[in-house]
Symmetry: C4
Subunit: 232 residues, 4 copies
């Protein structure tokens, strides 16, 4: 389908994208357990996730660029920028990649310091509704950045890895105290499955998906209206 | 009006800019309360504000680029780079966005750890005059960067988001110990209204405005004199 | 030999490259011992190594770009992108540079705080096999980035210093708790020789070399297959 | 004089450069005293100096780019890239700017937490000779970066602010534990004069100057030999 997304990349979609998305998703969180047992430095975690996304986007090409996250995939689907078949394929690859990565992290980390493998939890004292709002807000800014960088008319596609990576870092800097920062249901599902802990897990689907859809509406109706010729 | 500011962006000004400025200002400070109750890491706060400004500038286009801050808006007005009507519209949108953001932060943060919502205060031991001088200095360097990046002859406009974002981070790294770093009266007004605390609040208008005007004079008289043909 | 690596750089290989590689390797680790005797901040170390690699790549040209690391050199050799003679020359220069740098660090640091000169060790509690897996994973992502940036068709060569430097920083952020992060047998050999401590030293050859070879296979068979005309 | 340095900038040298250098030098160290009285975070200081240099280079043009540091100025003079008259003018402006900045910092900081205004001192336990060696090494890498970015044939001049700024940050990350990191005699002279403390002050002239001259020789004889037509 000739969408702005595909024409930005200039690449023909091929059947192997699922494998690349799986690979990218596996590499996407070299979760740095704090082996001393203390709580991890927020800047350390924020930089790790942001640089990781930026590098995977830059080096693994189109499929790696924006398809590391079911919430982002949903927004592109809702924004009529990709087909349902591709969206489902990518989401499956993302979830499988997340589970693989969490399993790997678990196997290389000593049990005493394994912690929770970077499991997203709602910080005590914060209500689940507040957590959903925070996740919604940080995912909203992430998807706005994804749309802006994949929009050919804005001319930002060359900088997409840096912009999206910085957006991931920013989301973590903001939300990490509330929820450990998810913005990505697959990234939350991996550790949840491996540690069999689904406490408040729904927050990390509802928050990111809601934020992603809100961003799609904001972008296509307010910022770069799609039903007239007004350019940004 | 055909000003260097508008021609750099290549976009026609449209009546919706006020809405975009409001959106950008709302997203501009996902203030990261330290939910553990301790005092926030200066680098954490500095990076958050800087990346936030850089991303909003890059993704929300012209209106988002330099109009997140009444002090910057004032400097562009004083430097005859925008009209009074636009300046007033932008300042109103910035203040409304700041109040909205502070209200949102307050609603999602548990009361015990709400702290002061990132309220700017003068650190005990520092006089209000010293605080005004510090705010003046850091806003001075910020506005210099804004002028340099919006000046077509310098050719820096493509790098404007990175340069202005880095300038915001730098200002915070320098001033955060003195005042929590404002550089932006709207950013200071939001939390002040929500927490009903206007202690030394005037510092965060006088300091940034003075620094902005000083930078306008320095740029237009010393660095890139506007009344002769000497190029930078 | 007309390989994509050489054509990207556009420079003729000359016999002095060995001296440049030696120089670059010497400058490559201004190891920042924590003179207060505490354990070094992971972000401090990660940034130091990453910025160091990025700058040496940018400023010392081709030989400095990707030949600071025997594991990377091995991957380029295995990927038929350089000659065996060059690979051996570079590895010797890298090892000599590492020993020189470690000797220099030892001479300028007071004995009481000399620590272990940044020696790579396997953190207590982590098995040697787990350490090899972690080193393998972080070197894998590093070599993927090197291949992607030296591949002319991907068009990333201008950004190579930033991408490879960020990859080095990321590897450290992830692995530093496990092994101090090596990814580079020469970087591990220098301090090992100077402090005469080869405990688990084999981990820092097997892990990086295995990760490098795995990345070569992944890149040349999955991502950018070399035996058909499909472009990335 | 038609030197590579001038042709890269494409600007005619004008008599006002001294004033711009003074301004840039004044803005160059908004030294962030730690107002809580503790010792400053090395990453905080390193980022502050690096971003500061990068921004001044980018926004204040040629005179601001490489002439914030007498050691760098000396290297350009020794490398026959500028005239003696310009070099002396710049060094005077740098020293005056440093004194002004230190005086300003002193005036806005409460006495109890003024500390030593960022005075460079040799850390107890480190000999003055070791300190000279460290300063020599970090200034060496800084000047190499300056030469590489001002050399037209290398094509790095657009990235000069980022490269030189990163080099400044790197120097601090490495040397800050030994000497507080100088690399810049003017930056050391300012606080020394204001606090009337010249203990080991000679280290911060001999180290940087020696490193700068060593870099000039290395660049012009080894890396980019100036007496034949071999390109980098
Ligand atoms: Ca529940
Ligand atoms: Ca008062
Ligand atoms: Ca052993
Ligand atoms: Ca002495």
């Amino acid at each position: 389908m000739a969408s702005p997304y595909h024409s930005v990349s200039g690449k023909s979609k091929n059947n192997d994208d699922g494998r690349v998305v799986f690979l990218a998703s596996t590499l996407l969180w070299p979760l740095p357990p704090d082996l001393s047992g203390g709580s991890p430095d927020p800047i350390h975690v924020s930089l790790t996730f942001g640089i990781s996304v930026a590098l995977m986007s830059a080096c693994l090409g189109t499929a790696g660029a924006v398809h590391l996250n079911p919430a982002v995939t949903l927004s592109l689907l809702a924004g009529v920028r990709m087909s349902l078949a591709s969206a489902l394929l990518y989401m499956i690859a993302q979830v499988l990649g997340a589970i693989t990565a969490s399993g790997f992290i678990r196997s290389v980390t000593p049990p005493e310091v394994r912690g929770d493998l970077g499991l997203n939890v709602v910080t005590p004292g914060v209500s689940e509704f507040q957590a959903v709002c925070v996740e919604m807000m940080v995912t909203f800014q992430l998807v706005l950045c994804v749309f802006a960088t994949s929009d050919q008319k804005a001319g930002l596609s060359k900088m997409a890895p840096v912009i999206v990576g910085s957006s991931v870092t920013l989301g973590h800097l903001v939300a990490i105290g509330f929820t450990g920062c998810s913005m990505n249901p697959a990234r939350s599902l991996g550790p949840a499955i491996i540690t069999a802990n689904f406490e408040s897990h729904w927050v990390f689907w509802v928050g990111p998906f809601t934020g992603a859809l809100l961003a799609t509406v904001t972008y296509d109706l307010l910022l770069v209206p799609r039903w007239n010729t007004q350019s940004l």
